[in-house]
């Protein structure tokens, strides 16, 4: 009886989420014979004790109905059941998050996908425990930072229990280069006399897909940035020149206000009453033209005291103290009519005056 364990870890990062999200951990395991009672995936922060896991997504895709369609996710707080075909996510505030996948069947193939989202990458430890006595540990660490150049330090320990794969990105990456890293290995175990034994044939493949495309896109992105900068250069130069010219010729608003105040003071000092008269007329005309039409008159309060001869007493009669509308209600149309008539008359008078001036002009100002 043999057991083929295949674990595939995929890291997909792109754009702004290069350091944060879409770290997808996919585990597919084929198990023939024996009883697999459970598998535990432990998620750690990659290298920091201060960082916290933010979200973990688990998707239950157990295919065979003979199996229990449940995944039991255990963390420190509670057990979470995920039904078949369901996806759930767990927000974890602990530094240590352990997910125990319970599978309650035998001789079938199952798979599940676990997604984890956190800044800085993940470190996942996968422990397999079969129904007998063997257990296998796969300790896979991902360190994904805001890096651009991908250097893979693949440290694969050819032991039975532990394999480690380190992926580190060492150069600062601010571009939007999508890349895809896939690390997989396959381990074949053979069952001899009630025990599993590894055949020491570890197959590890590290596949970096789209890296070249990513680099090309990065170069193109840089070239595009340079081209954009060059294209924007004339506009920037023009803005610089126009701002300089503007400051050279156009005075500031505060200076104009100060200048007007200085001129007013100077003219008032020099021209005295003449300037005051002109100012008075100008202000009055402005008030007439630009102010609202007064539609009320305030009648001041007036008291009239009369002597009541019969009772030998003073009687006070009060008037006013209120506003009176110039145009009474429901008679606005009369005001409009009057305004229209006056306007027509004024227009005719002006036309007549202009006509007379015209004839005077034709007659050569004989008058």
């Amino acid at each position: 009886m043999s057991c083929i364990s295949s674990v595939t870890f995929c890291v997909v990062a792109s754009a702004e989420e290069i350091d944060v999200s879409n770290i997808k951990l996919t585990q597919q395991q084929s198990f023939n014979g024996g009883t697999l009672s459970g598998a535990t995936i432990n998620f750690y922060p990659n290298n920091s004790t201060e960082e916290k896991l933010e979200k973990a997504f688990v998707y239950n895709s157990i295919r065979d109905t003979n199996w229990s369609n449940l995944l039991t996710i255990q963390n420190k707080d509670e057990d979470i059941l995920v039904n078949k075909g369901e996806k759930t996510h767990v927000k974890v505030n602990n530094l240590y998050y352990s997910m125990l996948v319970q599978v309650q069947s035998v001789d079938e193939t199952y798979n599940y996908e676990a997604y984890i989202t956190r800044p800085g990458g993940i470190r996942a430890t996968v422990n397999y425990t079969d129904g007998t006595s063997e257990s296998f540990n796969d300790d896979v660490s991902f360190v994904v930072r805001k890096d651009k150049t991908i250097n893979i330090d693949l440290s694969f320990t050819p032991s039975k229990d532990v394999q480690r794969v380190y992926i580190s990105l060492t150069k600062d990456c601010a571009s939007e280069i999508p890349y895809y890293v896939s690390v997989s290995y396959e381990k074949t175990l053979t069952f001899y006399g009630g025990e599993y034994e590894g055949d020491d044939k570890y197959q590890v493949s590290v596949d970096i897909q789209s890296e070249e495309v990513g680099l090309l896109e990065g170069i193109l992105s840089k070239i595009t940035n340079v081209a954009d900068y060059i294209l924007e250069l004339p506009q920037k130069i023009w803005n610089l020149v126009s701002d300089g010219l503007k400051s050279l010729f156009v005075p500031s608003e505060q200076y104009i206000l100060d200048f007007k105040a200085d001129m007013d003071n100077l003219l008032e000092d020099k021209f005295g009453f003449a300037y005051q008269s002109i100012t008075l007329l100008d202000n009055s005309l402005d008030r007439i033209v630009f102010s609202d039409i007064t539609n009320t008159i305030y009648l001041p309060k007036t008291d009239i005291t009369l002597r009541d001869v019969t009772n030998n007493d003073d009687v006070i009669y009060s008037f006013g103290g209120y506003n009176v509308k110039v145009v009474p209600e429901k008679f606005e149309f009369l005001a409009d009519l009057c305004s229209s008539i006056i306007g027509i008359v004024a227009t005719l008078a002006f036309a007549n005056s202009a006509r007379k001036r015209y004839f005077e002009f034709l007659e050569g100002a004989v008058r």
């Binding site: 400051s247 050279l248 010729f249 156009v250 005075p251 500031s252 200076y255 200048f259 200085d262 001129m263 100077l266 008032e268 000092d269 020099k270 021209f271 005295g272 009453f273 003449a274 300037y275 005051q276 008075l280 202000n283 009055s284 005309l285 008030r287 007439i288 033209v289 102010s291 609202d292 039409i293 007064t294 539609n295 008159i297 110039v326 145009v327 005001a335 009057c338 305004s339 006056i342 306007g343 004024a346 227009t347 002006f350 005056s353 202009a354 001036r357 005077e360 002009f361 050569g364 100002a365």
Partner: protein, 89 residues
């Protein structure tokens, strides 16, 4: 900056060239005048309910402009008539 310098120069020149200083109205008289114009403006505001006051002011301005043009025209003609060689009657 250049315009600011020119404006400052104009202000200083005016201050130097205008050597006279006409007297101002006494403050009491200005108060009376202000009150009188307040009444006038108030009365015009009341009239504006029945008259298109802005329209009338505009027409009045046009009449004044026309009259001024005519007086200038007459003055120029009067001067031209004083020249015998032109023979303008």
């Amino acid at each position: 900056m250049i315009i600011e310098m020119l404006l400052s120069l104009v202000t200083n020149l005016l201050d130097i060239l205008l050597v006279f200083e006409l007297p101002s109205f006494p403050s009491e008289l200005m108060e009376y005048l202000n009150s009188a114009f307040d009444y006038i403006v108030g009365g015009v505001g009341l009239l504006a309910n029945y008259t298109p006051i802005i329209y009338l002011i505009a027409l009045l301005g046009l009449v004044i402009v026309l009259d001024a043009c005519m007086y200038i025209y007459k003055t120029v003609l009067w001067l031209l008539k004083k020249i015998p060689n032109l023979n303008i009657s």
